[in-house]
C-alpha cells in the first residue's frame, strides 16, 4: 500500500474528519462560555434580589430585624452567605468570613468553615453609613456543574474523534480501493491485456460513471487497434502468400535447370527470404506486443540462458575481432517466455557486434538486485548520441551512422516489446564511450529462494 501521506483518498477523509472535530470543539467552547455567563448572571441576580429583600427589612425593622432575618436565612440555606460590616471592618452580623468588601457585584474570596478559602459571587450594598451588607452565594456548585459538563463533553468529543478517525480510515480505504481497482485494470491493459475493462458495480455511482466512460474509451481504442492490427496482419499475410508462391516457383525453377540462370535465381531467392523474414519479424513484434503469449509463461533461468548465449556467441564475437566478457550471477530466474528472452538477448549481443568497430569489448552481465533481474550488454564502441537514445527502439529506426550496415532496425523494437511483455523495460544509456543496453525484468517470485526442480 502507498504511504498515507501520499494518498489523496486518505487526505480527503482525514481533512474532512479534522474539520468536523475542530467544528465540534469550537461549538463546545461556545456552549460552555454561554452557560458559564448565564449561570454567573443568574447567581448575581439571586444575591442582588436577596440584598434588596434584606435592605427592605433593615428599613422597616432596623438592625435587629435584619440580624434575625439573617440568622434565620443562614439556618435554612447553606448556599447563601451573609454579613454586615461596620465602617471599621468589623462584622456586626452574619457568618460570612471575609474582609469588608467594596460596593458592587463581584467575585469575592472568603473562608469556608469546612473547605477553607473559597470563592463566591456577591453583591454589596450600604444599608446606612454604619452598615454595609454583603450577600454571597458559594460558586462551588457552579464549578462542579461546569466540571461535569467538561467531562461529559470531553468523553463525547473523544468518542466522536475515535468514530471520525475510524470513519476516515474506512472511507479512505474505500476510496483507495475503488481507485486501485481502476488503476489495476489500467495496469493490466498497459501490460497488454487489452480485453481487460474497469470494474463497474451495480450502484452506478461516480466511480462507476468514470469507469464506464473509461470502458467506452477503451472499447473505441481497442476497435481502432484491432482494425490496425487486422490491416497490418492482412497486409503481411496477403503479401506473404504471393511471395511464398514466388519463392516456390523460383526454387522449382532452380531445381529443374541449374543452367546459367542459377546464380540469378539463387540471388532472387535470397532477397525474397530477406523480405519474408522482415515480415516475420514485424508479425513477431506485433504478436509479442499483443501480450497473447503470456499464457505460455514459465520459470526461466536467466543465468543459464545468459551462459548459453555467451557460449554460443563467444566464438562468433571472437571471429569478428571483438571480445565478449561475461559475468553471470547464478540463480537469477524470471517468469516468462524462454525463447523470447533468448531472442532479446541475441538481438542485444548482435547489436553490440554489428554497430561497433573491430577491437570492441562487449560485456554481458546478469545480476539480481531488489526484485529485478538485470541482463546488461555494454560495449566499448562509439556509442549512440544521447538525442538518438529514445528513438532507437522505434520500429525501423536506424541511425545515420548505421545506414550501411545490415538490418532493418527491428532488433531493439523486439527487445523493447519483449521487455514490456514481461512487465520490464529496456534501458539504454551511454556507457561513455559505448552503449549500455539493459533488460530489466521482474524476478520470479520464488527466485529469492531458488529451488532445484527435479529433472526427469
Amino acid at each position: 500500500m502507498r504511504s498515507w501521506r501520499r494518498s489523496a483518498a486518505y487526505r480527503i477523509a482525514f481533512v474532512n474528519f479534522a474539520a468536523y472535530a475542530i467544528g465540534i470543539a469550537l461549538l463546545g467552547a461556545v456552549v460552555f462560555a454561554v452557560i458559564h455567563v448565564a449561570f454567573t448572571r443568574q447567581l448575581d441576580a439571586m444575591v442582588s434580589d436577596e440584598a434588596q429583600t434584606l435592605a427592605g427589612e433593615y428599613r422597616s425593622g432596623g438592625m435587629t430585624e435584619l440580624n434575625e432575618s439573617i440568622v434565620e436565612r443562614q439556618a435554612a440555606s447553606n448556599r447563601m452567605l451573609y454579613a454586615v460590616f461596620a465602617p471599621d471592618g468589623r462584622r456586626i452580623s452574619g457568618s460570612l468570613r471575609a474582609a469588608r468588601p467594596a460596593l458592587g457585584a463581584r467575585e469575592i474570596e472568603f473562608i469556608d468553615p469546612v473547605e477553607g478559602p473559597d470563592f463566591a459571587r456577591s453583591t454589596v450594598v450600604d444599608l446606612s453609613p454604619d452598615a454595609r451588607l454583603i450577600v454571597a452565594v458559594d460558586s462551588d456548585w457552579l464549578e462542579q456543574f461546569e466540571q461535569i459538563i467538561l467531562i461529559v463533553f470531553g468523553v463525547g468529543f473523544l468518542g466522536i474523534c475515535l468514530l471520525g478517525f475510524g470513519g476516515a480510515v474506512v472511507l479512505g480505504g474505500y476510496l483507495e480501493q475503488r481507485l486501485r481497482s481502476i488503476s489495476n485494470s489500467a495496469q493490466a491493459i498497459i501490460g497488454g491485456d487489452t480485453r481487460q475493462r474497469m470494474p463497474v458495480s451495480p450502484r452506478r455511482d461516480e466511480f462507476d460513471q468514470v469507469a464506464m466512460t473509461l470502458n467506452r474509451m477503451l472499447d473505441r481504442i481497442e476497435g481502432l487497434l484491432e482494425n490496425l492490427r487486422q490491416v497490418s496482419s492482412d497486409i503481411a499475410h496477403d503479401l506473404r502468400t504471393p511471395l511464398s508462391r514466388l519463392r516456390t516457383r523460383l526454387e522449382q525453377g532452380m531445381l529443374e535447370n541449374s543452367s546459367e540462370a542459377g546464380p540469378v535465381l539463387e540471388d532472387a531467392l535470397r532477397r525474397i527470404d530477406e523480405v519474408l523474414s522482415l515480415f516475420g519479424a514485424i508479425l513477431r513484434i506485433a504478436e509479442v506486443e499483443s501480450g497473447e503469449t503470456r499464457r505460455l509463461f514459465e520459470r526461466v533461468d536467466l543465468s543459464a540462458l545468459a551462459s548459453e548465449l555467451a557460449d554460443s556467441f563467444g566464438s562468433s564475437v571472437e571471429d569478428g575481432g571483438r571480445t565478449l566478457l561475461w559475468s553471470v550471477n547464478p540463480g537469477v530466474a524470471v517468469e516468462g517466455d524462454r525463447e523470447l528472452i533468448a531472442q532479446a538477448g541475441i538481438n542485444l549481443l548482435e547489436n553490440a557486434q554489428r554497430h561497433t568497430p573491430v577491437g570492441t569489448v562487449i560485456r554481458l552481465t546478469v545480476v539480481a538486485a531488489g526484485n529485478l533481474a538485470f541482463f546488461a550488454v555494454v560495449d566499448s564502441g562509439p556509442g549512440v548520441p544521447k538525442v538518438d537514445l529514445p528513438r532507437i527502439t522505434k520500429r525501423f529506426a536506424r541511425l545515420e551512422s548505421s545506414r550501411n550496415t545490415a538490418g532493418y532496425g527491428l532488433g531493439l523494437s523486439l527487445v523493447d516489446a519483449v521487455a514490456k511483455l514481461h512487465n520490464g523495460r529496456l534501458v539504454l544509456t551511454s556507457a561513455a564511450p559505448g552503449l549500455s543496453a539493459t533488460l530489466e525484468l521482474p524476478l520470479a517470485v520464488e527466485s529469492l529462494a531458488p529451488t532445484e526442480e527435479p529433472k526427469l
Partner: protein, 225 residues
Amino acid sequence: MRILIAEDDRETAEFIRRGLDELGHEVLVAGDGTEALHLLLLEELDLAVIDRMLPRLDGLSVVRRARVAEVETPVLLLTALGRIQDRVEGLEAGADDYLVKPFAFAELAARVNALARRKPLQAQPTKLEHRGILVDLLKRDVERDGKAIQLQPLEYRILEELMRDAGKFVTRTMLLERVWNYHFDPQTNIVDTHISRLRSKLNEGGRPDAIETVRGAGYRMAGDA
C-alpha cells in the same frame, strides 16, 4: 515411403508432391481436412504433412482426431502464421514437427527424413560411428581415426546431431531447434560459427573434410550417399 500431403493450396501441394516424388516417395494428396482425416485413418502411411489451415476441418483438429483414434503416423504440421502460440498448440494437438511457410524444399525434405527415421523404436545406441569418426554418447568424447578430439559442449552437440542422421542433411533451423532449443530465426551466424569451429577441429592434421555444407540444404557428415 507413403506420405500424405494435406494442403488446400494446389500450387504448394504440387510443389511438395513433385519434390517428394523425385526423392522416391509415394505421395497421396488431400485437399481438405475431412479427406485428410479419412486417409489418415484408412491408409497405411509412413508420414503425413498437414497444413494447419484446411477447409472443412482444420489441420489441428485432423491431428487431434487422428491421435484420439490411435493413429501414430508421424505428422509434420505446416503453417503460414508462424506465431509462438501456433507451434505450442500444434505440438499439444499431437504433431511431431512444425514448419513455417514459406520454406525451402530442402528444409521439408530434411524434416521428412528425420521424422521417418524416428519411427522404429530401436534401442538407443551408446556409440555413433561414421567413417573413422567415433562419438561415445556416454563418455561424451570424440575420436577421429583413433585420435581424441577436444570439443566445446555446443560443438559436441552439433556433431552428435549430425552423426545421428549421418549421411542425411540437417538444416540450420533443425540445429537451432535441437541444439539450442530455439524455435525462431535468430538472424545470426552462430550455427555457421560453431560448424566452422567443429569442422576445423575434426579436420585437423590435413584430414579430408568431415562435414559437407550444401547451400540451401544444410549440413551432413561427408563421404556417404
